[in-house]
Symmetry: C2
Subunit: 214 residues, 2 copies
Amino acid sequence: MNPTTPPSARTEIHRKPQRAHYDTATINAIIDEALLCHIAFQDGGSVHCLPMACWRDGDYLYIHGAKNSRITRALQDSDCAVTITHLDGLVLARSAFRHSMNYRSVVIYGRFAAVDAENIKKSAFAAFIAHVSIGRNELIREPDAAELAGTTLLRLPIAEAAAKIRNWGVEDKNDDLDRRVWAGVIPLALRPGEPKAEAGCESHPLPGLPSFLA
Amino acid sequence: MNPTTPPSARTEIHRKPQRAHYDTATINAIIDEALLCHIAFQDGGSVHCLPMACWRDGDYLYIHGAKNSRITRALQDSDCAVTITHLDGLVLARSAFRHSMNYRSVVIYGRFAAVDAENIKKSAFAAFIAHVSIGRNELIREPDAAELAGTTLLRLPIAEAAAKIRNWGVEDKNDDLDRRVWAGVIPLALRPGEPKAEAGCESHPLPGLPSFLA
């Protein structure tokens, strides 16, 4: 993919194009730090926006849901837009107007398709567990046939996609630079707190966390 | 509002209804910890999902954008769905299938309207700055007439809304409880890192952060 060219008209970023990125490496790196996405879709004469757990495996974004749920049906029936956003910082300027936020976001357009093959479902769910906790697949019980059959696995090609990134400092007007106020960036990140073990699990080794949470 | 009754058919939570909350206090508490929302809307024959900074003032959710931008026009022309999600933890079970996430989310349906009155715009933008950094309004330059005129302020009534919360531990099957693996919750939260001051600002007092980031 040409890094400087949007893959479609609707992925082209017109507002603040200096923040736009269309290359796969940038897009995948943002997706790979995501635990959830927001999905916009139409159903029943209305637009909806639902948070869903997500993960990448190869060229696809995966989600899962209960078999025969409204969203898993609706997402196979029409195109959607999926957005992942990492809020990376508060940009605190010397004027109200120049305040901003640092972030990395990806939007993917397209149509989800169900994956029914049991071997692909097994490997996709194992990739999801590995995404959330390194080394965990070897320790837990894998899904049985009934659990696999009761879960719909959906995937969306990461093809019609664009990233938008702001990752720099304050852009104050020259006239405001002498103001006696702290200006700069407060970095923000999703961070783990103290693990809360279930009763009887206190002596087992703590789970491995992905590098983006460590 | 009756806490147990959804305000409309499309806000009723059918999937895992034990996680549903419809009371204003619960909904507002989730919104008040948000720095951004995701907005699903239709435009140009396609559905879109965009991240936007947001804040609450009274009974409205506010967003802002450049005057005459596509999104500020589109959001006044048709209904949208706005979702706020806080990812509060990884729920690590003894079987792959019972893994989950703790979260608090709010969905609001409705139509944004522009607020043109300069006094309301000034107070809404001051509320936004106060939401991001306590005590900051008194130190920075407030918006001038051109900055106010160039910014569209939009607000959505927090009326047709619902919250969904999972905030408990692992729900393993009895058959899996003897498995020798750590199970429990890894709490997650957005946390501030080391402030990065602009040149010349190092000696000014650090900005006050909202309680949900402290």
